[in-house]
């Protein structure tokens, strides 16, 4: 996934779309908006962006899961199987992005990149509703995909790369 921080206006539409699409319990969210203020007046900069699970290539949550409930698909998406999860909390402790939470039903839940929609050929809910079209979703392994081209041509970053997780949500800056 690629998110253009220059286009994002922080409207939280993605957050609401996700909560509706995935029946996220009230008070919880799988994606959220951060507002980062850099510098001090008068050289001040504001960055808005939508954050979620980074579906890391080197996912610490998958490594530390004692039951294998947290797993990574061949296409890179990290998922949790609810009825294999014992709710030990190890994956939540292991995530540098705090992207996971304990569902009130007990198991651990997080962003799935709307895996159920992808199977039908649809885009993730957050991407499909973004009013400024600041989010792009596609195959990063395919050099001709829209996301690969964006990363080729634009300056970008990932979140906390120093944590060594190889996050797969890229932010255009």
């Amino acid at each position: 996934m690629v998110i253009d921080t220059l286009k994002c206006v922080g409207c939280s539409d993605c957050v609401v779309a996700c909560q509706t699409e995935n029946d996220v319990p009230i008070g919880y969210c799988r994606d959220w908006i951060t507002e980062t203020v850099n510098g001090s007046y008068p050289t001040i900069e504001l960055e808005l962006k939508s954050e979620r699970c980074n579906h890391c290539d080197n996912a610490p949550c998958v490594r530390c899961c004692p039951t294998g409930a947290s797993h990574q698909l061949d296409n890179g998406i990290v998922l949790v199987t609810g009825n294999e999860c014992i709710g030990c909390g190890a994956c939540i402790e292991s995530c540098p992005y705090d992207a996971r939470y304990q569902h009130p039903d007990g198991y651990v839940d997080k962003c799935t990149f709307c895996h159920h929609r992808l199977e039908k050929g649809q885009l993730p809910a957050c991407v499909s509703v973004c009013p400024t079209k600041c989010m792009y979703f596609g195959d990063l392994d395919n050099p001709n995909s829209e996301v690969s081209k964006l990363l080729k041509n634009r300056k970008h970053k990932t979140l906390a790369p120093e944590a060594g997780t190889k996050p797969q949500v890229y932010y255009l800056t």
Binding site: N38, P66, T67, I92, E93, A160, A163
Partner: protein, 313 residues
Amino acid sequence: MQEELFTSGRNIPNIDPSLEIWHWPISVYLFLGGLAAGLLFFAGLITVLGKDKEYPASVKFASIVSPIALTLGLLALFYDLTHKLYFWRLYTTIRIESPMSWGAWVLLIITPISFLWVMSYYSELFPKWKLNFEFLNTFEKFLQKNRRNMAIALIPLSIILGIYTGILLSAFNARPLWNNAILGPLFLVSGLSTGAATIILLAKSAKEKHLFGKIDLILIVIELGLIVHMLMGMYAGSEVQLEAMQLLVGGEFTLMFFGFVIILGLIVPAILELTELIGYKIPVAIPALLVLIGGLVFRFVMVEAGQITRYLY
């Protein structure tokens, strides 16, 4: 200057503003697991060395504590699971990369052995309560014959159990306070030290008290060394580790860490044990209890403070 604000009203229970996923049962379990590891290690070691007649407390009396500690510890772990009915999923797979999976399997093996160990001493521990079933007596005799085999198994198993309580935390690189390689050995030494302290409490002969006083003293010195290494490592570390260290040194956990863990839990008992070994009369229960309390507080400090530390991006 950088300031970050959550604007979507993100306030997820137990996640924001800082993690509260692992609560007191985890700290209690880490303490009890380390204690049981220490007790079973000494019981195994003394038996393998053939000194079990000379040091009865370490192999016999103190070993009653380990199955109790393990059972309470497992109950505490179970209590802190949020999807409890699926706990059996732990035993449908072995995940080499997950410390928790290692721990679950080691506990599955070491807990029954700790019970069997006590069972093998049943007629000596409870001479008044006779086993009225013949097969139980036969079983006890069988266990007595295999006591040395159990002891050989207990030594590596208890070391894995003791180290795992630390690696469980140190494997999380998302929590900079935990993410240092010294935590495994540190928790092991601390567990062995609390085990030795329990044996001192339960020992009747001066000889056994003295031996474990010496062992405990050595372990305390090693533990202090490891804590210094841990702090030095973080002091020389990256920004996130520096911030993590500041929680212990000059931050909100300073009193608990330096007051209860380092001074009251390590330095004071070390001095008391040393003066006792030199020949002054000091009730050894005092340093032993201080070590136990220090060990418990240490787990609480590490679990609570660790969850506050995080990567800032």
